[in-house]
C-alpha cells in the first residue's frame, strides 16, 4: 500500500510542485493576458480578473488553464481573431468574447482551435463575432455551456456559431446559439456527439452536417432557423429526441436529409415546419417513434429514396402527411398513426383493418403544380381525393401503410 501511495505521490509531484497560478488584472503585476501566457509554463493556471482586454490576437501555445473571473471581456475590436488555441490540453472558461474581425479568407473567430486535442472551451459568452468557436483538426475536444450570439443579417456576412472541420471525437454540449449563419456546422467530423444544445433563429441552418460519419445528436432544440437542419452526404448518423420546430418559409425544412444512409431517427418531435422531413437520395434509414405534428408537409420522400422504414410514428394535423415526386416506392410504412385514417377495427386489436394510403392526390398535384394550392380544401379537390382513395389510379397504389394504428402512440 505504501509503495502505491509513494508511486502516486511521485507521479503527481510535478503537479504539486510546479503548477502555479498567475493572476492578470488592472491591479496585478501583469495587466496583459498575452504577457501572462508567455510567462507561464505548461500546466499553469491563469486567472483573469474582470475588465476589458483589448490585446488583438491572443495565442495560447502551451497547455494552460485560462480562467475568467466574473466574465472579463476580450474585445477583438472588429479587427482580430480573439483567442487562438494552438496547444493540446488547454481550457478556456468564463470569458466574454466580443467583436472578432471579419475576413472571408482567414475566417477570424472568437475562439479557434488549431490542430489540437483535449481542449475544453466552456462557460463563455460570445457576442457579435464573425465565427463563434472554430475547431480545425480537433480531437477529443469539449465545447460546453457557451452562449453564442450574433446579429447576422445576410448569409455571406456572418460565420457559423460552432464550426467544426476535419475533427474527431468532439463533444458539443449545452450551448445556446443564435443569429449566426449555421448554428452548428460539421464537415468531415467523426465520432462526435451534439447534446442538449439550443440553436435558434440562425440565418441558414440550425445544424449543418456534411461528410460527417458516425455522429449522434441527441436532445437538441432547433427552432425558427432559416432552413431548419440539414444532414447531407453522410452515413451512420443517430438523431434521437431532438425538437425541430417553427422552421417556416420558402424552402424551409425541419430536417433535410440529402444523400444519407444507414441512419437512425428516433423519438424526435417535428412541429410547425413547412416540411417536417425532406428526404432525397436517402437510403436504409429507420424512422421510428417520432411525432410529426402541425406541419405543412409531414414527410417529403423523393423517388430517389430507397429501403427506408417508417414505423410507429404519429402523424397529426399535418396539411399533407406524405408527398413524393414520382411513382416509384421503395420504402416501407408500417404501424403508424395517421389522424386522417378513416378505417375501422373490427377485432379491436388497435390496428386498422383496411390499409391507409397516406399520399393524397392533391399533394401529388401541388408537387407538380404549386399554383394549384389555391384550391386546397375546395369541394372539387375533396371529391378528387375521395375517388382517388377508393381506386388509386394517379398515385402509386403501393404507397401504403398496411397496419395503421387506430389510436395515437403515447410519444
Amino acid at each position: 500500500m505504501r509503495v502505491y501511495l509513494c508511486t502516486l505521490f511521485i507521479l503527481l509531484s510535478p503537479v504539486f510542485l510546479f503548477s502555479r497560478t498567475i493572476r492578470v488584472g488592472k491591479s496585478q503585476a501583469l495587466t496583459r493576458i498575452q504577457a501572462a501566457i508567455q510567462k507561464a509554463v505548461a500546466g499553469d493556471t491563469i486567472l483573469v480578473e474582470a475588465g476589458t482586454y483589448r490585446e488583438g490576437n491572443i495565442i495560447i501555445d502551451k497547455p494552460l488553464v485560462l480562467q475568467g473571473l466574473d466574465y472579463p471581456v476580450l474585445d477583438g475590436e472588429k479587427k482580430f481573431e480573439v483567442l487562438s488555441i494552438k496547444s493540446d490540453h488547454v481550457k478556456v472558461d468564463g470569458f466574454r468574447i466580443e467583436n472578432s474581425g471579419y475576413a472571408t479568407l482567414e475566417d477570424p473567430c472568437a475562439v479557434k482551435l488549431y490542430d489540437c486535442s483535449n481542449v475544453t472551451v466552456s462557460n463563455n459568452i460570445l457576442t457579435d463575432n464573425f465565427f463563434g468557436i472554430y475547431v480545425q483538426f480537433g480531437r477529443n475536444c469539449v465545447i460546453r455551456d457557451n452562449r453564442i450570439k450574433a446579429f447576422g443579417v445576410e448569409e455571406q456576412q456572418i460565420g457559423n456559431g460552432i464550426h467544426c472541420w476535419k475533427s474527431d471525437s468532439l463533444l458539443i454540449i449545452a450551448n445556446h446559439i443564435t443569429g449566426h449563419r449555421d448554428g452548428i456546422y460539421f464537415e468531415f467530423v467523426t465520432h462526435s456527439v451534439i447534446w442538449r444544445n439550443i440553436s435558434y433563429s440562425n440565418i441558414r441552418y440550425g445544424l449543418h452536417f456534411m461528410f460527417s460519419n458516425d455522429d449522434a445528436y441527441i436532445t437538441n432544440v432547433f427552432r425558427n432557423n432559416g432552413a431548419g437542419v440539414a444532414v447531407m452526404f453522410t452515413k451512420k448518423v443517430t438523431m434521437i429526441n431532438n425538437t425541430f420546430e417553427k422552421n417556416w418559409g420558402d424552402a424551409a425544412y425541419g430536417l433535410l436529409l440529402k444523400e444519407i444512409s444507414d441512419s437512425y431517427i428516433y423519438g424526435n418531435q417535428f412541429r410547425e415546419n413547412t416540411a417536417a422531413v425532406y428526404m432525397e437520395g436517402t437510403n436504409r434509414i429507420l424512422f421510428e417513434q417520432n411525432v410529426v405534428e402541425s406541419n405543412g408537409w409531414g414527410l417529403k420522400i423523393q423517388a430517389s429514396c430507397m429501403d427506408n422504414v417508417i414505423k410507429r410514428n404519429n402523424f397529426i394535423a399535418n396539411t399533407f402527411d406524405i408527398s413524393t415526386n414520382g411513382t416509384l416506392v421503395l420504402n416501407t410504412f408500417n404501424g403508424n398513426y395517421w389522424d386522417k385514417y378513416e378505417g375501422y377495427d373490427l377485432n379491436r386489436d388497435g390496428t386498422g383493418d383496411t390499409p391507409y394510403h397516406p399520399l393524397s392526390l392533391f399533394s401529388v398535384i401541388t408537387e407538380n403544380n404549386p399554383a394549384a394550392m389555391l384550391l386546397y380544401r375546395s369541394l372539387i379537390v375533396s371529391l378528387l381525393d375521395k375517388s382517388e382513395k377508393v381506386i388509386p389510379s394517379l398515385t402509386p397504389d403501393n404507397f401504403v401503410d398496411n397496419a395503421p394504428l387506430i389510436h395515437s402512440l403515447p410519444l
Binding site: 424551409a252 394535423a317 380544401r377 372539387i380
Partner: protein, 255 residues
C-alpha cells in the same frame, strides 16, 4: 327598420323554415365540436358547412321566397311606395333573417370552441356568404317569371360557384403550368365568392402549407391587412353588384 322589412322578417319566422335551418346549423356545429377531439378538425368540417350548405340554403330559400311573394309585391306596388324601397326591404329582410339564423345556429358553438381569431373570421365569412347568395338569388329570380326555371337557375348557380368554377381553375392551372400564373390566379379567385371566403379562412389555419414556396405569393397578398381589406371589399361587391343589377331589372319590369 322599416315596416316592410319587419313584415318580411315576421313572415319568414312564421314559415318556420329559417328556424329549422337555425336548428340544423346548431345541431351540426355542436355535434362537430363534441365529436372531434381536435377543434381545428371541427373548424374544417364547419368550413365545408359554410362554403357549401350556407350558400345552398341562402340561394334556394331566397329564390323561392321571392317567387312566393310576387303577389305581395304586386300589392305593394299598387300602393304609393317606391319600387326601390320595396325591393330593398325584401332583400334586407331575407338577408337579415338568414344572417341571424347563421349567427345563432353556428355562432354560439364556434365562439365556445374555436380560437377567437379563426372563429371570428369563420363567422364573418359565413355572414358575408349568406348575403352574397341572397343577392345572387335576387338576380336569378328577377331574370325569369317561371318559378321552376328560376329555381333551376339558382341550383345551377350554386353548383357553378361551389364546384364547376374550381374545376375550371384546376384545368387552367394544368394548362398553364409552365407559366408564372400565381398573380393571374389571385385575380381569378376574385370571380368566385366561395373561393375568396375559403382562402380567407385557410390563411387563418393552414398557414404552414400556404407559407411554403407554393403559397408565398398568396400569403403575401391575402395575408396582409391590405389584402384582407381588399378581399372583404370584393366580397361586398359580390353583394352589391348582383343586387343592383336585379334592382335595375325590377325597376323596369312590367309585373
Amino acid at each position: 327598420m322599416n315596416k316592410i322589412t319587419k313584415f318580411v322578417i315576421l313572415d319568414i319566422l312564421r314559415n318556420k323554415i329559417v328556424i329549422a335551418y337555425t336548428l340544423l346549423l346548431a345541431v351540426l356545429s355542436w355535434s362537430v365540436f363534441s365529436l372531434e377531439d381536435n377543434s381545428i378538425k371541427g373548424i374544417l368540417t364547419l368550413l365545408n358547412l359554410v362554403l357549401l350548405y350556407v350558400p345552398l340554403v341562402a340561394i334556394i330559400f331566397s329564390t323561392i321566397y321571392v317567387y312566393n311573394s310576387s303577389e305581395f309585391i304586386e300589392l305593394l306596388i299598387s300602393q304609393p311606395i317606391k319600387r326601390k324601397k320595396i325591393w330593398l326591404s325584401l332583400f334586407s329582410g331575407l338577408q337579415l333573417s338568414l344572417i341571424v339564423a347563421f349567427l345563432v345556429g353556428a355562432g354560439i358553438p364556434i365562439m365556445c370552441f374555436a380560437p377567437l381569431k379563426l372563429g371570428g373570421m369563420l363567422l364573418l365569412v359565413g355572414c358575408i356568404i349568406s348575403a352574397v347568395f341572397v343577392s345572387i338569388a335576387f338576380l336569378g329570380a328577377i331574370c325569369t317569371r317561371d318559378k321552376a326555371k328560376g329555381i333551376g337557375i339558382a341550383i345551377l348557380l350554386w353548383l357553378y360557384f361551389a364546384l364547376l368554377f374550381d374545376g375550371l381553375v384546376l384545368f387552367l392551372v394544368f394548362q398553364f403550368a409552365d407559366y408564372p400564373i400565381e398573380h393571374a390566379m389571385m385575380v381569378l379567385t376574385g370571380f368566385s365568392p366561395i373561393d375568396l371566403a375559403r382562402i380567407l379562412i385557410l390563411l387563418q389555419m393552414d398557414v404552414s402549407a400556404m407559407m411554403g414556396y407554393t403559397g408565398a405569393v398568396f400569403k403575401e397578398f391575402f395575408g396582409t391587412d391590405t389584402g384582407f381589406v381588399i378581399t372583404i371589399l370584393v366580397l361586398c361587391l359580390w353583394i352589391a353588384i348582383p343586387f343592383m343589377l336585379s334592382l335595375r331589372k325590377f325597376n323596369r319590369k312590367d309585373l
